[in-house]
């Protein structure tokens, strides 16, 4: 048991560190460190622009998408290099936020399901940061029940497709060049079988993107309307009717990406309790508080070391075990609890959402607001628990009213009666 790099890893780390020291946008360092948790907003520069610049510099010198095959712009490096790289990249990795979909989940999905032509066309511009992607999965009536999507894809005479419907909660859709979209190609097939995955040009006629103002006052999430959008068949990812399988590949990669990067806010809380005074002494002197602090510390540490265990598997060339399924579930709710406690410790000042108020700016207030969403996005707490129950503990699926019947016959409101399920 040791935390040391192998000789080869240490050598790679040294090279990475040297390159980053020389090339990172050091002028953004302070701003990146202080940027509130969540979607990236920078004040001095346009965040997407800055992200693209950093990505293209990395790509130019061979530091981007390290584990991707060389023929698609990567370096064919072991997974462990990606990890070491992101450790060394540290705060600058926050500039990777606009590429979370393209590099974290879409890229690996294309490598699994895409045609050779699609790989050649789509992957290299992701590596260089030229193309930004968004994910078009959720719909107003299909969130946790993602397989309930209704956006239609209709095959035309010439083999192309027409897409109609509405997507929602799409992060970064306004900046995106491409969207990966889950559609229903056969409403009369059984729910999970009638779906097909495509990618669309976000500037194609018929695509309308509207920002959603979030509780954080940011507007990174969007509604996307599709009004008879024409899509060539070459933009289909995977076979017709296999959309759900493709979606699962995306979601699995998304959960690995998001879960491993989620902070809990414990470090910020710990500085707060050492800094803020209650009855003239720092709050950490209050013994009644220590039990809660210790609980948070052991959760935050547990997540860190669980991640190390996953890295150990990757380092050996294996796959992370089922432990990783707890990451987001634990991290998101811990952050919400931590933010709530931090506001409590700040007293009425906790109600002030203002930069420059004191050293803590609006850090905990933004954390409070943001964490409510973290418990929903990428699988709610309940969806995550169900995944653990079914896939890790091997428990049977809960009874469902939508099994074995055509999608078009599934009830969608209280006054519809469910047909008898055909098992």
């Amino acid at each position: 048991m040791d935390f040391d790099d192998t000789r080869e890893e240490a050598e790679f780390r040294a090279r990475a560190r040297a390159w980053i020291t020389k090339n990172a946008p050091h002028e953004l360092h302070t701003e990146l460190v202080n940027a509130p948790f969540g979607h990236l907003d920078l004040r001095s520069v346009d965040a997407v622009q800055a992200a693209r610049q950093w990505q293209s510099r990395k790509a130019r010198d061979g530091w981007a998408c390290l584990s991707w095959p060389e023929e698609y712009g990567g370096q064919g490096a072991p997974q462990m290099h990606t990890i070491i790289w992101s450790q060394e990249e540290a705060v600058y990795s926050r500039l990777g936020a606009p590429f979370l979909v393209s590099q974290g989940s879409l890229g690996p999905t294309i490598m699994t399901w895409g045609t050779e032509a699609q790989k050649q066309k789509l992957l290299p511009p992701i590596v260089t940061g030229v193309d930004i992607w968004c994910q078009l999965f959720s719909e107003p009536a299909a969130g946790s029940d993602l397989a309930g999507i209704r956006t239609r894809s209709i095959r035309e005479q010439d083999g192309s497709w027409t897409l109609k419907g509405q997507k929602i909660w799409s992060s970064g859709a306004r900046e995106a060049d491409w969207g990966v979209i889950l559609t229903r190609s056969d409403p009369d097939a059984v729910k999970h079988h009638g779906m097909t995955m495509f990618f669309i040009d976000m500037r194609a006629p018929g695509v309308v993107v509207r920002p959603i103002r979030q509780i954080t006052e940011q507007s990174h999430l969007n509604e996307v309307y599709l009004d008879n959008v024409r899509v060539p068949d070459e933009h289909r990812i995977g076979p017709v009717g296999a959309g759900w399988k493709v979606a699962l590949t995306m979601l699995t990669n998304e959960r690995i990406t998001v879960g491993s990067h989620m902070p809990t806010g414990f470090e910020e809380l710990f500085s707060l309790v050492n800094q803020i005074t209650q009855s003239g002494v720092p709050a950490v002197y209050d013994r009644s508080l220590r039990s809660r602090l210790a609980g948070f510390a052991s959760r935050a540490n547990g997540l860190k070391y669980t991640y190390y265990r996953a890295l150990t598997e990757l380092s050996r060339g294996g796959e992370p075990g089922p432990e990783m399924s707890i990451m987001k579930l634990v991290a998101a709710s811990t952050m919400q609890e931590i933010a709530t406690l931090a506001l409590d410790l700040q007293g009425l000042r906790g109600a002030v959402v203002q930069e420059g108020m004191d050293d803590n700016d609006d850090r905990f207030q933004m954390m409070l607001l943001r964490s409510a969403g973290a418990r929903i996005e990428g699988g709610t707490d309940q969806v995550m628990r169900t995944i653990i129950a079914e896939r890790v503990l091997g428990l049977p699926q809960d009874m469902r009213a939508d099994k074995g019947i055509p999608f078009s016959a599934i009830p969608t409101s209280p006054n519809q009666k469910a047909p008898a399920a055909a098992e």
Binding site: D4, N274, Y308, T312, L395, P396
Partner: protein
Amino acid sequence: MNFDFDSNQKSLQSEMRRFLEQRSPVSEVRTVLDGKRPFQESLWSELGEMGYTGVAIDECYGGTGLGYLELCLISEELGRTLAAVPYSSTVYIFAEALKEAGTEEQKQKWLPKIAKAQTVACFALEEGAGSTPLQKIKTRYADGAISGVKKPVVDGQIADVALVVARDDETENKCSLFIVDLTDETRFERTQYKSLDPTRSLASLNFKMAPADRLGVPGSAEILLSCILDRAAVFAAFEQIGGAEKALWMARDYSLERFAFGRPIGSFQAIQHMMADMYAATVLARSNAYYGVWALATQSDDLGLAAANARVSATQSYQLCARDAIHIHGGMGFTWEFDCHLHYRRSNFLAVQYGSLSQWEDRLVRQLCASDGVEID
């Protein structure tokens, strides 16, 4: 990065698991639970014969000289099977105290016996309810002998040697550790208490001028205890994780067999989500315990922090898994016949042995401050 046990260590663990499945089925543990015997004496001897009590004892003292990583895996399996043996008092505490502070003569006298499980030790620190700060210790050492009442003492009823914390007359009011032979029953009295977990016996020891042999330099109890209890916290964490996982999987298996409303109760989300939370707690605890044993095995400066962190996490995890395992078993979980209560008892017993949860929580926060260079009281 290699944050895992190696294949030799893992095969030792499987060997230990198979051995315990054969030699210590729950029916054996229950003979102790039901008061038919004070502990599993034959299992204890076999653990010695197999070398399991001497994994972290050097070969020159009769051990196998493996190390702490191996010791933790054995602890995990003992926790999983709820084995009723005085392993922790003897191996976690007495052996480690000897290794840390014993003279060559003391080591020669005791370590080979521990390595062969030919002795049972107990650790006599507490003197009543609440935590026992060393400043409040009343038991005294004077003229080569100990006098005072220690209560409760885990394994005090079955031990033949005690490690006693006492105020040392040869110092300025400081405490030292002493080895007291418990084979001469004329110099002390023992009284058994009914234990929350009858597979872990409790007693009071009333010493009356019992001859004692000091361990370590006079007045060194504080520093020695802090070091030994950090180690014990890591070992106990593994024991707790073994128990927590067992309780979780018992509940999981039961939820597949038990039908209600025409289907297995394990298909209800209310039940599934309880078990998902139990699972998450065991994963966190395991990862934290790995960090604990890493710090221990590498003699890291982080040991104080890593041990408290492992202990807090493991205690919470075992308590959660044991109490919710009862709940998932419904009424059957509340019976003597089902094994749920063994884990409920053990989890709550371990939660207060070697310092209770709140003490370790306090220590964790103090260690976090210390690693930032801040001392808090």
